[in-house]
């Protein structure tokens, strides 16, 4: 049985399903499951958002999800099931952008594995967010540069202590 499942859900085809994620990471050996759900919210940096479009380089993103999962499996001794899903396309307020679930024997590993994977996906996946505002304007969000490290490096090195320093200069770009 596979220990992880990764998924890119084009909004044209369906929605991310937290119940299916929970079911996938459930196991008779596991006592703890932690799940993170990222939703589109109505306000960002004080601007009223009407929706978000997610652009994604799908093959590389799926490759990265698999690397992130393999790293987590190694870090948590293989006693781990993981689900990583991210939406693609135009989302409205409240739509699910991202679902990550981790099942492990005990709760501490479940919390840590889920957080580690969420941070790695956010900081290293080739995914771009364009926010649409109520005034009709649209802006591509500032983000984390992939120049200084590969996804695997970032995940291994500093996913928990990410400080948005020099290599992630969140600057003045639109």
């Amino acid at each position: 049985m596979p220990q992880h499942r990764t998924e890119v859900m084009d909004l044209a085809d369906g929605k991310l399903d937290p119940a299916a994620a929970l079911a996938f990471v459930s196991d008779p050996k596991f006592g703890g499951i932690t799940m993170f759900v990222g939703r589109v919210r109505d306000l960002n940096h004080g601007r009223h958002v009407t929706g978000i479009s997610y652009d994604m380089f799908v093959p590389l993103a799926l490759n990265g999800f698999a690397e992130i999962a393999a790293r987590a499996e190694a870090d948590f001794g293989g006693k781990l099931k993981l689900y990583i899903g991210h939406a693609k396309g135009r989302l409205g307020i409240g739509d699910l952008a991202m679902v990550v679930a981790a099942g492990t024997p005990h709760r501490d590993e479940a919390f840590r594995a889920c957080r580690q994977v969420v941070e790695a996906v956010k900081h290293t996946s080739p995914i771009w967010k364009q926010e649409h505002y109520i005034d009709g304007d649209s802006v591509w969000s500032e983000g984390c540069s992939l120049c200084e490290h590969t996804p695997a490096d970032a995940e291994a090195g500093h996913s928990h202590t990410h400080t948005h320093g020099q290599s992630h200069a969140h600057g003045s770009l639109p």
């Binding site: 997610y54 994604m56 590389l60 490759n63 080739p126 591509w140 969000s141 984390c144 992939l146």
Partner: protein, 86 residues
Amino acid sequence: MKVELSLFGAFRQYQPSAQLTLELADGACVADLRDAVDAHGKAHWPAFQSALLARSAFASDTRVLRDGEVLPTDGKMAVLPPVSGG
């Protein structure tokens, strides 16, 4: 060699087709591609910002390539501005 570059994120606003074909010398590396994109942007994209390109990575379908690496022979590449998923 012909390089077919896929554009993502903020680069889509420079070129809505999200595809750019560039001619580079055989054996060119990522740094050469980066220079070619910069030259193309300055010549053809009024809103182009070199600073965005400087913070962007280049990748094949399977991995990010560093500036010194040689481009894959199939010429299929992508330019990845800073990411903002989740």
